[in-house]
């Protein structure tokens, strides 16, 4: 026993079978060295208890089930914008949805400057939605401009005016708005499908990315199909 002191560990933690326990107990009863060893181990275990940990308050921002924040409550343009954002976030993968909501910085971002810490709360707050809305609006505007140019570039030359062309009559304007609305409607339908599943699965990177790509294809296809058929994007 004195030569294999690791065996005392099982005894000290009371985690050895009864036979072994008895063997050790018999030896220890008559061996002063092992008695000291055991009391030393017990003492250091007691000392270890002094090592305390700072007060902890949850940093976890609970996952919210899809129904708590329904994408249906958002206006059509927001749904369309969310689809656009998912496109943009394709490279970033599923981190998108979680990252849109304020929370503590994660490990991956540790090297970057840390944003102010926002305490966890139980639900998504109205302010979060407002901020989301503002970001979506800006992204939507940029992305729609970019998409219009893209579609224009691929459409038959006579059908499309340069993107810089401005509507000259109320009739043109009305038609443009109508066109845009149809486009957004298609996008939002795709996004509705997408978001129902994506939101529930929001941290699943691979799956989310696959769906984003599907959504991406769908949206691109409908945009490209739509513009030449209508032939009035810029007029």
């Amino acid at each position: 026993m004195c030569d294999e002191r690791e065996r005392l560990i099982g005894y000290v933690y009371d985690e050895c079978d009864p036979d072994e326990r008895q063997v050790i107990a018999d030896h220890v009863a008559s061996c002063e060295t092992c008695q000291q060893e055991i009391s030393g181990l017990r003492r250091v275990r007691e000392d270890l208890l002094a090592w305390d940990v700072p007060e902890y308050e949850s940093v976890w921002r609970p996952f919210v089930p899809p129904r708590a924040v329904s994408w249906r409550d958002l206006p059509v343009w927001a749904l369309a914008a969310a689809a656009v954002l998912l496109l943009l976030a394709g490279g970033a993968g599923g981190a998108f949805t979680y990252a849109m909501l304020p929370h503590r910085p994660v490990l991956a971002a540790a090297a970057a400057p840390r944003p102010a810490v926002i305490p966890a709360s139980d639900v998504v707050r109205a302010a979060d939605l407002d901020a989301l809305e503002a970001r979506l609006t800006e992204k939507l505007q940029n992305e729609v401009d970019a998409r219009v140019k893209l579609v224009a570039a691929h459409a038959p030359a006579p059908a499309i005016e340069p993107a810089s062309d401005v509507a000259t009559s109320p009739e043109d304007l009305r038609r443009q708005v109508q066109t845009l609305r149809v486009t957004l409607d298609r996008v939002s339908k795709a996004q509705d499908q997408l978001s129902k599943s994506v939101y529930a699965d929001l941290m699943s990177f691979g799956e989310t990315q696959r769906r984003i790509e599907q959504g991406n294809n769908y949206i691109l296809t409908s945009l490209v199909k739509h513009a030449p058929a209508d032939g009035s994007m810029g007029r």
Partner: protein, 203 residues
């Protein structure tokens, strides 16, 4: 009715987010404690808590239940802590823990019966333990953390760290022996320091 971890894992895997939130609520404190005692900084520990649960969520489908959910979480946490120290290139472990100044000691008394002297002694011991632990080799430190502060069995630690059960006992024995020598030496030094202070002030 309280669901077991396994039940909650099954429900979370099937898409029940609330079940996952419950798992977080149940385990975030132990995970924070493990990360704190590994990294020595509360802020880092909190970041690790969040990242550990995000990773757990992403990996939930891959968790086959061959280990306990908690062991699986502990392993994720220790891996994250290792990456953390590596990425940050910090000597995180040799820094004294934050918040160990004597400023707000009065608020932190564990029991109303604890005197200020006892409290100071306990805080001193807390610092001494964290310093001594930080100097241990990682495998000994992990074994001691999981055994002493998280109550895992030898077998659970062996499964988690991927080593034989006898190795776990050896690591525990060696780690505790080193800690014991360091802490005893430190206590002896403090005692002689107190004696010297007393003698110089009373002469």
């Amino acid at each position: 009715m309280t669901r077991t971890d396994e039940e909650l894992v099954a429900r979370a895997t099937a898409g029940d987010l609330e079940s996952f939130n419950q798992l977080v609520a149940r385990w975030e404190r132990p995970i924070h404690a493990l990360a704190y005692r590994t990294l020595g900084r509360d802020e880092d520990a909190r970041d690790v808590v969040q990242e550990a649960f995000l990773r757990a969520y992403r990996g939930l489908r891959g968790f086959k239940g061959e280990a306990k959910f908690s062991s699986w979480l502990y392993r994720i946490t220790l891996n994250l802590c290792r990456d953390w120290v590596r990425c940050e290139r910090r000597a995180a472990l040799v820094q004294p823990p934050e918040g160990t100044d004597a400023v707000d000691l009065a608020d932190e008394r564990a029991a109303p019966t604890e005197s200020v002297e006892e409290l100071v002694a306990r805080r001193e011991m807390s610092k001494a333990v964290s310093r001594a632990m930080a100097e241990l080799p990682e495998e000994q430190r992990h074994a001691i953390l999981l055994k002493e502060y998280h109550g895992l069995t030898f077998q659970e630690i062996a499964d988690m760290l991927g080593c034989p059960l006898s190795t776990v006992k050896t690591r525990l024995y060696q780690g505790l022996s080193v800690l014991r020598r360091r802490l005893e030496r430190q206590q002896a030094e403090e005692a002689s320091l107190r004696r010297a202070t007393w003698e110089s002030s009373s002469s």
